[in-house]
């Protein structure tokens, strides 16, 4: 018993000293707080960019898929411009989904925006463009999964294509894709941890920097992991709350 208490005391003294060095000394915890803010900035920024891009690309792709016959019959400018847009979207999806996000990030930083020093907007750009490709396919899959009868019912009462999409298809689609979309957001949050490659001190890089300075890897890295875990758990519970509210209509 005594040895156990001694061991515990020793461990506690050791732990509290490590904690002092890693987090308190020189206000090092502030690096983690600042890194966390930057991680959030990049995640939220690229989330917004990704959803906007995803909606646009999904709208073009599914409009093309649903209307190509009608438009082909009508011919003319509408069909040509839509098929060009559709091809552009396909190329975008192929390139983005076919290359690693770190490579895209470095290409953005060192080649496309070589003249810009600040890595944060470039991170938002790169992760946003990347996430947009996945979000687009999630939305498109969701739209295609809605029974065509819903679409016909909307059109048959006189709603036009956009109204049918907006009032009938998209609300059902959103409910169907919510879990997948949430996974994408979680993946995005974790993916931003590679933004250190272009010199941005996000939370991962901050943890790594403290570890390098104090030669203590355990505490800073575990702390960083716990922060990610906490955000993901909060996000997950928010989504399941939302899902429960949306499920009202299918008893």
């Amino acid at each position: 018993m005594e040895s156990f208490i001694n061991y515990y005391k020793e461990f506690y003294a050791d732990f509290s000293q490590q904690f002092q060095t890693v987090f308190i000394k020189d206000n090092r915890y502030m690096q983690i707080v600042k890194g966390f803010q930057i991680t959030l900035q990049i995640t939220i920024g690229s989330l917004i960019l990704g959803v906007i891009l995803g909606v646009i690309v999904a709208a073009i792709r599914s409009t093309y898929d649903k209307n190509k016959e009608t438009l082909k019959a009508k011919g003319g400018f509408g069909y040509i411009s839509l098929s060009i847009l559709n091809s552009i979207c396909k190329i975008y999806l192929t390139i983005i989904r076919g290359t690693p996000v770190v490579v895209q990030l470095m290409i953005s930083y060192y080649i496309i925006f070589a003249s810009i020093e600040n890595g944060i907007p470039i991170g938002i750009f790169a992760f946003g463009i990347n996430s947009g490709a996945y979000v687009a396919e999630i939305f498109r899959g969701g739209i295609m999964s809605i029974d065509n009868g819903q679409f016909e019912a909307g059109r048959s009462i006189g709603l036009n294509y956009i109204q049918t999409m907006w009032y009938i298809i998209i609300p059902q689609m959103f409910k169907a894709v919510l879990p997948t979309l949430c996974n994408e957001f979680i993946a995005l949050l974790k993916e931003t941890s590679v933004v250190g490659y272009v010199g941005v001190t996000d939370i991962t890089k901050a943890g790594n920097a403290i570890a390098g300075r104090t030669y203590n890897f355990f505490l800073p890295l575990i702390a960083v992991a716990l922060v990610y875990l906490a955000i993901v758990m909060i996000l997950t519970s928010l989504v399941s709350l939302l899902e429960r509210r949306l499920r009202k209509s299918d008893h």
Binding site: A153, R155, I157, G158, Q172, S249
Partner: protein
């Protein structure tokens, strides 16, 4: 029948899916107040014919004049004409994310610019007629098949259409629910609504139809009054078909 009695004029209507010719030239008129029942073997093109009437299927040839306008002309705004053509589907196609009342008021509010109160009170009147006023706040998943189809009928009626198209409205129903839907349709016919009905319910066709179209192999093989079609069929194909279904 005078010319201005014609609501829909179909001439030489054709529809192909790729190489398969489904409609090979349909000619017929639907007159105001008329109840036309379309019968025929499965795969004969009768549903396709109905779905081309409001351009859910785009015809590959021929014309459809609805209220004097050629709706097959690409420059026609089909959305306006569809408001005047109610449609009821085999699979009901109620909007599952909306209550019954919302299902019925969406289009009148968005398209006819009715106020919410007006649209809702009109919808409640219609629901009353089909005995479903107490389910106004339910979601479609809480209704039986027969109730869903009755809602689908009044949802279409809420737009105050000039013609109602029925695409096998009882085919997806349990047998004991067929009657309630048919009786709603019968009442509707008695109010003078123009109706085009694709159905396998021969008893109903005999009772309610003013005219019966027998479609087979993409053409109207025979048409006439229920008495002519059911009691004195002329073509061997119709005789054969009736011997199988009656």
């Amino acid at each position: 029948m005078t010319t201005d009695n014609k609501l829909i004029e179909v001439s030489n209507l054709q529809k192909s899916f790729g190489k398969i010719e489904v409609l090979k030239g349909i000619n017929t008129n639907i007159n105001k107040g008329e109840v036309v029942v379309v019968i025929g073997p499965s795969g004969s093109g009768k549903s396709t014919f109905l779905r081309t009437l409001n351009l859910l299927e785009l015809p590959t040839g021929g014309t459809i004049n609805f209220e004097g306008v050629d709706i097959t002309d690409p420059s026609t705004n089909i959305n306006l004409h569809r408001q005047k053509m109610g449609m009821v589907f085999q699979q009901f196609n109620l909007f599952p994310h909306m209550t019954i009342l919302k299902n019925m008021t969406l289009a009148p509010i968005k398209l006819l610019k009715k106020s919410k109160q007006d649209a809702e009170s009109d919808a409640m009147k219609l629901l009353n007629k089909v005995g479903l006023a107490d389910r106004a706040d339910a979601y479609p998943s809480q209704l039986s098949g027969g109730q869903k189809q009755r809602v689908a009928i009044v949802r279409a009626l809420a737009m105050n259409p000039d013609v109602m198209l029925f695409d096998e409205p009882t085919s997806a129903l349990d047998p004991e629910m067929v009657g309630e839907v048919l009786s709603v349709m019968k009442e509707l016919a008695e109010t003078g609504m123009t109706m085009v009905i694709v159905t396998h319910e021969m008893g109903f066709a005999r009772e309610v139809a003013d005219r019966v179209l027998f479609i087979d192999e993409g053409v109207i093989m025979e048409e006439g009054t229920p008495d002519e079609i059911f009691n004195h069929p002329k073509s061997p194909r119709l005789q054969d078909f009736l011997s199988k279904v009656l």
